[in-house]
């Protein structure tokens, strides 16, 4: 009897010890988030997936022909990728990094860089022909068309999903060579403001020249945007719907002798900084936007012809891509130093990109 009791007692003791350890252990960490960057490799019809924890190119997905802009809802479990030449939008599962399906519902001429409502229901998808299509992701059909004329190109969604800002580019002879589907070719100088619930135009913001890429502050109060013929960016008060200031890149005399354009803009450091690219001079600039006008605080040499720029989810890292040298560069916002580079295959031309904090598993998906 004694012999039988000894192992039993020791087993119970061990179990008690384990239970005690478990009780003392810190609470289980919340299910992890996989922060990733999705980048269109336009010339190869691929979407590259970059793991931002390791800063490695971990997967390549075949999408539509000449992939361009991307959009992801607040749940971050999905990504919509527009294919310029393919004329389609591909839906990606960002948890597993798999293509779910491709929508080919008549996205007009060359679908560009859309934005999606935070609840994931409506994708505002611009077409080169001069309008935006409102794509209902549940019904899987276009439910509204919003005409801006010009060339439908860049889209900014307010953080709360109340308004969406449509940024048509003015274009030139090259742009106008494309089909206009019977619409007149104009050169818009306004941002169109749309009620993202009713899909109706509620106002415009005159910017004086052709709108280019834009982004919005975390509180939704400031819209920052590149425009034609300004090496820098405009600052727009979204409530007043007017331009209140502008930032100008400081360029050397030799740089001023070479025509360039500002393209790509991102908010960093909790809304205190705005970073933007100078394409032809191969530079990226950082500005303090807590002062008026914004003050230039840094400039960085980057790869050849920086094109797009996005922040990490915490705003502490900025990513710049350079399609002519097929590079992706990471900058530390605090120290203003380059952290790392990824070299994509030569000629793949990385262009539009988006950071996504994908849930680690479908259970965390909130929709």
């Amino acid at each position: 009897m004694k012999r039988r009791l000894v192992p039993l007692v020791s087993t119970v003791s061990c179990l008690a010890a384990v239970a005690s350890l478990v009780a003392q252990a810190p609470p289980a960490a919340p299910p992890s988030i996989q922060e990733k960057l999705y980048i269109s490799l336009e010339s190869t019809d691929n979407l590259a997936v970059v793991d931002l924890k390791t800063f490695k190119h971990v997967k390549t997905l075949k999408v539509g022909m000449h992939p361009h802009g991307q959009a992801s809802p607040a749940s971050q479990d999905k990504l919509y990728v527009a294919a310029e030449i393919g004329g389609t939008v591909t839906l990606i599962d960002t948890i597993r990094d798999q293509v779910i399906k491709t929508f080919d519902v008549g996205f007009g001429v060359e679908p560009q860089n859309g934005a999606i409502t935070p609840d994931g229901r409506f994708l505002y998808q611009p077409s080169y022909a001069g309008y935006w299509q409102v794509f209902d992701t549940q019904k899987e059909q276009i439910v509204e068309y919003i005409h801006t004329l010009g060339i439908g190109h860049n889209t900014v969604m307010a953080p709360d999903g109340r308004f969406v800002y449509l940024l048509p580019i003015a274009g030139g002879p090259g742009h106008f060579a494309r089909e206009s589907l019977g619409l007149p070719r104009t050169q818009p100088t306004d941002v169109t403001v749309v009620d993202a619930r009713a899909h109706k135009v509620v106002g415009t913001i005159p910017v004086g020249t052709g709108p280019r890429p834009g982004t919005i502050s975390p509180d939704g109060q400031r819209l920052y945007m590149n425009v034609d013929d300004l090496m820098g960016f405009l600052v727009i008060d979204t409530a007043a719907r007017k331009v209140i200031s502008k930032a100008t890149f400081t360029l050397t005399a030799d740089e001023q002798a070479v025509r360039s354009r500002s393209h790509g803009i991102a908010v960093a450091n909790g809304g205190k900084e705005v970073w933007s690219n100078d394409v032809v001079h191969n530079l990226t600039f950082a500005f303090d936007v807590t002062v008026t006008p914004p003050k230039q605080i840094a400039r960085f040499p980057v790869g050849r012809q920086p094109y797009w720029i996005v922040p990490s989810k915490d705003g502490k890292t900025i990513y710049v891509n350079c399609p002519s040298s097929d590079e992706l560069i990471a900058f530390d916002v605090l120290t203003k130093k380059e952290k790392a580079r990824i070299q994509f295959p030569k000629g793949s031309h990385p262009t539009r990109m988006l950071t996504v904090a994908a849930p680690a598993s479908p259970q965390r998906t909130a929709r």
């Binding site: 030139g172 090259g174 030799d254 002798a257 394409v279 050849r304 012809q305 031309h349």
Partner: protein, 177 residues
């Protein structure tokens, strides 16, 4: 209207149409503007076909019409390449006429096959920003993409004492690059 008048009207219309067609078919003459200083490249540097030698040229852009600036005009720096193609020398501005990105000469056969759907017989220039394509063998003529035209051309003045001298640039480039 009499038959004679109808005949005359038709004849005049035909002449007008012919002149218009002829004007459209005849390429407009290229107007060149002088560089501030001629660019010189050793002939030996371009001995091998499709090996571009980069250079930067300087010129002055003098706007015309209302709002034109002072007599000196705006200083313009233009990036170009000189290469052998392979029978003749070619000097081209590498700024894409679409949105000022710089183009690259692509010689890799696999990439050329992808760019021109297997039809490329010789190297092409490609714009990294929007994928416009230009024919390097045809003095940078437009092949495809958003570019409204071919690459701007430099004029080669001649070869003196083993140096290729480039002295002019298409005038249209000065307001665009």
């Amino acid at each position: 209207m009499s038959a004679r008048r109808r005949f005359l009207a038709a004849g005049l219309a035909l002449v007008g149409l012919s002149r218009r067609m002829l004007a459209q078919m005849t390429p407009s003459p290229v107007i060149y503007a002088p560089l501030t200083r001629a660019v010189e490249v050793p002939l030996t540097a371009v001995a091998i076909p499709w090996h571009p030698v980069p250079f930067v040229a300087e010129a002055r852009f003098q706007p015309t019409g209302a709002g034109a600036s002072g007599a000196a005009g705006r200083r313009v720096l233009i990036s170009g390449v000189l290469f052998r193609a392979p029978e003749a020398l070619s000097a081209l501005c590498i700024t894409c006429p679409h949105e000022q990105c710089q183009v690259d000469l692509v010689t890799d056969e696999e990439r050329l096959a992808h760019m021109a759907a297997g039809k490329a017989a010789s190297p092409l220039f490609e714009c990294g920003c929007h994928s416009s394509v230009f024919d390097a063998a045809a003095d940078g003529a437009r092949v495809s993409g958003e570019t409204p035209r071919g690459l701007y051309r430099f004029r080669i003045a001649g070869i003196r004492e083993g140096m290729v001298e480039i002295n002019e640039i298409e005038k249209a480039a000065l307001s665009e690059v």
